[in-house]
Amino acid sequence: MWLALVCLAAILAPILAPHGPGVTNTAASLQPPGPNYWLGTDLLGRDLLIRLLWGSRWTLGMALGGLAVTIGVGLPLGIMAGAFGGWVDTVLMRLVDALLAFPGLLLAMAVVSLLGSGIGAVAIAVGFAAAPGYARVVRTAAVEVRTELYVEAAHSVGCTPWRILVRHIFPNTITPLIAFAATQLGWVLLNGAALNFLGLGVAPGTPEWGAMLVEGRNFLRDAPWVSAFPGLALTLTVLAANLLGDSLQRAFEPR
């Protein structure tokens, strides 16, 4: 449905990559308002539109990196737990439960405190925080598939458990996993930007959307656009991700 929004956000990234003028930095004029510069400029006179476009690389990159971590950690955990069952399941799920005991953002913050600053740390931290939730969903899907007849058939033919997992269980769990991944992307994006907003991630001055929000904070009354537009961009992108996840989930529902 509203995949149009997602496409918009996604297309933003590659198109702007070599977008003409260098990153940002025109210390020239201060903070004039709208239409000469389409979205206005910030305190240091940098064109907001350009910063926003460049920032999409940072923000989206971080979100996708985080998602990669989430899937990279959550998928193996969940699928092994679901496919093997027994004590593997119990041990892994207890671990996941323990991680889930921590409120999401707090967990991400804790990981950032351990890893130091920078966008890589943020991506890893947020991805890691989203992983247990993802693992849970993966496990449920895997368990459902495990009880299917063809798995039993494969087992009786003599497939080793690993082979069953890779060739039978995994392919059949993909569809719900992708749907949930989209939703998690929204979460990762939101909280990753949040960490940057709090000053825990990128260096100040980097055109990451969350960080840009902070920059506008001090002159909210006089120049609200500095914060308004990055926030709008964030909202739209998260919204798109969530809607994508929703429609994917609905598409895969009736099996």
Partner: protein
């Protein structure tokens, strides 16, 4: 029987908490850099002094010893000393806790009321424009970053209209804007779930039967639908508490309110890991407790669940 159930139910959360505490300990243990070095290296102390300080802080003990000490302290409520301030972490947290709780509760009340109202409304007017509107509102609510809504809210209500203060703490007015911001996001998530649940219950046989019997819609709604509908939503509310805690941190930052958020952020920036560890553990404890309460409440509401073995 009730007691036995509670005792059974307590086991898992306790175990999870223990595991969480252990993970936290391990994570922080293996982090490079320790307080002795950080504190003294800056003032140009030599290796001997650093080693001595380390011994004072008990950091040279072998892993199992430190672990046991950690657990024992934890059970007594001792979370260690802040590296930065040298004060008891537990006390620092205790000081910052009330404003955060205040904000969280206020936001939760707003979120729950708004969420329920929207969700129920969408459910009973299912398929109409009301439904679409409220559902869209809900999704937008939970997609919008709280820090952004916070800034917008400050912009409108505080700077343009001048109705409410934008930063600081100390009066009820200071609470309104942050609570509204956080509550709005929460409401979005709750509304979606309430709607789904009410729709599901509405389709059930006994509801249709009641309506066929001619009972007026209103009593049907409240008596038959809401009671079973509410139970799982309680669980969800408890789960969303995690979101609430995280959101409170952000909102506090946006509105410059005192509270755990500020404490945690400062600790992270200054690498005061003891404080971070303390806050994280506290978060886990609160979260697990809230979920436990929700589970118990649910069992109370729906006796069928009591037979469930965990």
């Amino acid at each position: 029987m009730w007691g036995r159930y509670i005792r059974r139910r307590l086991f898992q959360p306790a175990f999870v908490l223990w595991l969480a505490a252990t993970l936290t300990f391990l994570a922080f243990y293996f982090t490079p850099g320790d307080p002795a070095q950080t504190l003294l290296a800056a003032s140009g102390a030599g290796p001997a002094e650093i080693a001595q300080r380390r011994a004072e802080l008990g950091l040279d003990a072998p892993l199992p010893v430190q672990y046991i000490r950690y657990l024992v302290n934890l059970l007594q409520g001792d979370l260690g000393q802040s590296w930065l301030h040298g004060r008891s972490v537990a006390r620092m947290i205790g000081e910052q806790l009330p404003p955060t709780i205040e904000l969280s509760l206020a936001a939760m009340i707003i979120g729950v009321f708004l969420g329920f109202a929207l969700g129920i409304l969408a459910a009973i007017r299912q398929g109409t424009w009301v439904d679409t509107l409220t559902t869209t509102l809900a999704v937008v609510g939970l997609s919008t970053p709280t820090y952004w809504t916070g800034l917008l809210v400050i912009l409108f209500f505080s700077l343009y209209l001048g109705w409410l203060p934008s930063t600081g703490d100390g009066s009820f007015q200071h609470l309104i804007l942050p609570a509204l911001t956080l509550g709005f996001a929460l409401a979005g998530a709750i509304a979606r779930l309430v709607r789904a649940r009410v729709v599901e219950v509405m389709g059930r046989q006994y509801v249709l039967a009641a309506r066929a019997r001619g009972i007026m819609p209103r009593p049907v709604l409240f008596i038959h639908i809401l009671r079973p509908a509410i139970a799982p939503v309680l669980t969800v509310i408890a789960l969303q508490f995690g979101f609430l805690l995280g959101g409170a941190v952000i909102t506090e930052s946006v509105f410059a309110r005192p509270g755990l958020g500020k404490l945690a952020i400062e600790a992270i920036l200054w690498r005061d890991l003891q404080v971070v560890r303390g806050v994280v553990i506290l978060g886990a404890v609160v979260y697990v407790l809230v979920n436990l309460l929700a589970d118990l409440a649910q069992a109370w509401l729906n006796p069928r669940l009591r037979d469930e073995l965990t």
